[in-house]
């Protein structure tokens, strides 16, 4: 049973349920306490030791059911006339255990033989979906397929009529067996490899350039949102971690003295100052115009997640003019919010100058020395006046101005891009066109530029 449990841990790990060696030991102890007799008890007890969060419990249940369930083996039923099923076959067939089981329809025996063969063929080591057919073949070979094929060939050569008929029956049974083997391998793939495939896809997605032609595949969209969300959550965790550091301050002499009155002036109760921390206030301004169409969705997703994480944030979007999108982000779900923003203001001609004007006229009072301004855009202004003076005002009024550009650095300043001219006013200006890059930058940003 130890082997089976180890395989089960491996299946769990591939489904992203972390099973450390210590937990594996606990699981073994659990099993020796509860035994295997009661399936329900066995499952619940293992679940309590191995799954450590609500969604891990869900994954545990799924893996447990796939792992410890054996579908009934479908074998060809034996002939109904009650005659010897082996009748008509050449004599070497009598030696073959597999042929006998196939023709008698011995489902139990076949299932057991398949498990044993699977162990020899190491089917559980499957990693990729492309390995399926090769492993199926190998599994069948381990079970003794070559033998069966020889018997069939020999039976067809026999002179009497019973030979080919028996060969047909054996042939049908062999086909059935092949089907069973392939579904067995399929199940193993689901257990050990399906999740790792998903992880691989996530990793690729994190590195994929977001302003590439066509942007993100609609298929990957949900996955990207999950990624961005996870990123935002991690940032939130890190932020709250830092917040607690701020709790331990300096000695509060005044309150310590007052407390010491009760002890005749001896300062036994020592009181420390607790710092009140500034919440980060962020103003995020996002370009959603035609030139960044491919990346806009991504930028907005990010804006949305940031809005969820950060307590005080103002969000703006612009292409020709600038509008505040705070209400939209607060009220809607991520997909609808993005669509709504794009519907209101998206995909028009960019005019950075005009948008900056809008911002300075209506929202400049939102900036103070605690504010970090994050600009998300490509700085392509269609040769209109970039209004550097306004950006300079923004820089002067805010604590930090950060520009994230979805274009690679080599494109900056080419064509109608005024990135180099804007760059002078930014504390940080970075290209940012993959999720992985974004994550790194934002982490730096939160660490360095947000007051705490």
């Amino acid at each position: 049973m130890q082997g089976a449990l180890e395989d089960f841990f491996r299946a769990l790990r591939s489904a992203d349920v972390r099973v450390s060696p210590a937990e594996a030991i606990d699981a073994h102890r659990t099993v020796s306490t509860v035994g295997f007799a009661d399936r329900e008890l066995f499952k619940d007890a293992l679940c309590a030791t191995l799954a450590k969060s609500a969604d891990e419990v869900e994954r545990f249940d799924r893996i447990f059911d796939t792992f410890f369930t054996r579908e009934t083996f479908h074998a060809e039923p034996p002939p109904e006339d009650g005659g010897d099923p082996m009748e008509g076959l050449p004599e070497e067939a009598a030696q073959s255990e597999l042929a006998r089981m196939l023709l008698e329809g011995d489902a139990m025996g076949l299932a057991q033989a398949m498990e044993e063969a699977a162990e020899r063929a190491q089917v559980s080591q499957i990693r990729l979906s492309t390995q399926r057919s090769r492993l199926t073949r190998k599994l069948l070979e381990e079970m003794g397929l070559a033998e069966i094929e020889q018997i069939i060939a020999a039976a067809r050569k026999l002179e009497d009529t019973a030979g080919p008929a028996a060969a047909d029956r054996l042939e049908a049974a062999r086909k059935r067996l092949a089907q069973e083997a392939s579904s067995y391998v399929e199940r193993q793939h689901e257990l050990y490899a399906a999740e790792s495939g998903r992880n691989l896809r996530e990793e690729l997605l994190a590195r994929k350039a977001l302003n590439a032609e066509g942007g993100i595949d609609p298929v990957d969209l949900a996955m990207m949102q999950a990624l961005v969300k996870r990123m935002a959550k991690r940032l939130a965790d890190r932020y709250s971690r830092r917040r607690h550091v701020a709790w331990t301050g300096h000695l509060d002499v005044r309150r310590t003295l007052r407390k010491s009155m009760g002890y005749g002036g001896m300062p036994f109760d020592i009181v420390f100052k607790t710092k009140k921390i500034d919440k980060p206030s962020i103003v995020a301004i996002c370009d959603v115009s035609k030139s960044v169409a491919a990346a806009a969705q991504f930028l907005l997703t990010f804006l949305y997640s940031l809005n969820e994480v950060v307590d005080r944030m103002e969000a703006f979007a612009f292409s020709g003019r600038m509008i505040s999108v705070n209400a939209v982000l607060d009220e809607h779900h991520v997909e609808t919010a993005i669509l709504e923003v794009l519907k209101r203001i998206g995909f028009q001609q960019t005019d950075y100058g005009k948008s900056l004007e809008d911002f300075c006229e209506q929202h400049l009072d939102q900036l103070d020395r605690h504010t970090t301004v994050i600009f998300l855009g490509d700085a392509r202004s269609n040769y209109a006046d970039p209004r550097l003076d306004l950006l300079a005002t923004i820089q002067k009024r805010s604590r930090a101005l950060i520009w994230l550009n979805p274009e690679p650095q080599s494109y900056w300043g080419q064509g109608d891009s005024v990135m180099h001219r804007y760059e002078r006013f930014c504390h940080v200006a970075k290209p940012c066109n993959t999720l992985a890059q974004l994550e790194r930058i934002i982490e730096d940003v939160l660490r360095t530029y947000i007051p705490h």
Binding site: A48, A51, V57, T274
Partner: protein, 304 residues
């Protein structure tokens, strides 16, 4: 504690209707001597599970509520500074007497070392919940409530207590429990707990119950309630949970509502009674406003 079934029955005897998964987790926790981390939304009976276990086993319950800024001196022990101060003053008075006849400085120092030093000793130790739990010789149930509200530093500090059932006091040495307490940690998922803590615990997630289980809970918690009314109110609550609300009612709200209905003398649900008592069930004004127009419709739904 002999089997899971016995545990379910025992818990039922003290008024806690446990599902199989809950009972199994508890059974494993007692047998493997591991703490048990209970998660679930507010009001599904996380704290109640610890209370009922203590009642079932006849052990004292020691409860520690976590909050931001909770530290060792409030969780583990503190020195009784005031008494220590008094002690030093008494000591000073006596010192002159005891040392007055010493011929020289060295002899006085020898005599001083010879006197028992009580300054850091058990009598001056003020035990806090964790220490009290470790010093219960007959064992106890230790409930560490809402661990997710505490700081990460505190979480790390708990690791020694939870894995070895011992604490080290720098001045006294290691204090180890004679009988390991049964430890419950509860969490509302305010923040993710560290892997190290999770690894040391068995994990139990208590979901919202299905209709049948909830009916049993209501009739066990609110004795004397009519079966028909229970049926109606549980299916009302169950259909509320399918709506998109800020805070879905959980078990404790159902039980409170059942009590409120009894108090109001209602023997069946109707629009007026529900409207009057809806604030027991829903805790946000928006939720109440969202549900109010649909009350009649929900009542008329076939029972779950």
């Amino acid at each position: 504690m002999t089997s899971v079934d016995a545990l379910i029955q025992g818990l039922e005897g003290v008024g806690y209707i446990a599902s199989r998964r809950i009972a199994t987790a508890l059974y494993m926790a007692v047998n493997l001597q591991k703490p048990i981390l209970v998660e679930g939304s507010a009001g599904v009976g996380k704290t109640e599970l610890a209370l009922s276990t203590a009642a079932l086993l006849g052990l004292p319950l020691i409860r520690m509520q976590c909050y931001e800024g909770l530290d060792e001196s409030k969780a583990l022990y503190e020195w009784k500074y005031g008494k220590q101060l008094l002690y030093t003053q008494i000591l000073k008075d006596r010192m002159g007497e005891a040392l007055s006849d010493a011929p020289d400085m060295d002899a006085a120092m020898d005599r001083l070392h010879g006197m028992g030093d009580l300054f850091f000793s058990e009598p001056f130790l003020e035990p806090r919940p964790l220490m009290m739990a470790l010093r219960e010789d007959a064992g106890c149930v230790l409930l560490i409530d809402e661990i997710d509200k505490s700081d990460e530093a505190f979480e790390a500090f708990l690791l020694e207590v939870l894995s070895a059932y011992q604490v080290s006091v720098p001045e006294l040495g290691v204090i180890k429990a004679k009988t390991p307490p049964i430890v419950f940690l509860t969490s509302n998922n305010v923040r993710d707990l560290g892997d190290a803590l999770k690894r040391r615990c068995l994990h139990l997630h208590i979901p919202l119950p299905d209709a049948a289980l909830e009916r049993r809970i209501v009739s066990s918690r609110v004795p004397g309630i009519e079966a028909d009314l229970t049926h109606q109110l549980v299916s009302f609550v169950q259909s509320l949970r399918t709506l998109d609300l800020r805070k879905s009612p959980s078990i404790s709200e159902t039980v409170d509502w059942a009590r409120a209905l009894i108090l109001l003398g209602a023997d069946a649900l109707d629009g007026d009674v529900v409207r009057d008592s809806l604030n027991v069930l829903l805790k946000f004004e928006q939720d109440i406003q969202a549900v109010e127009p649909q009350i009649i419709e929900i009542i008329r739904k076939p029972l779950a």
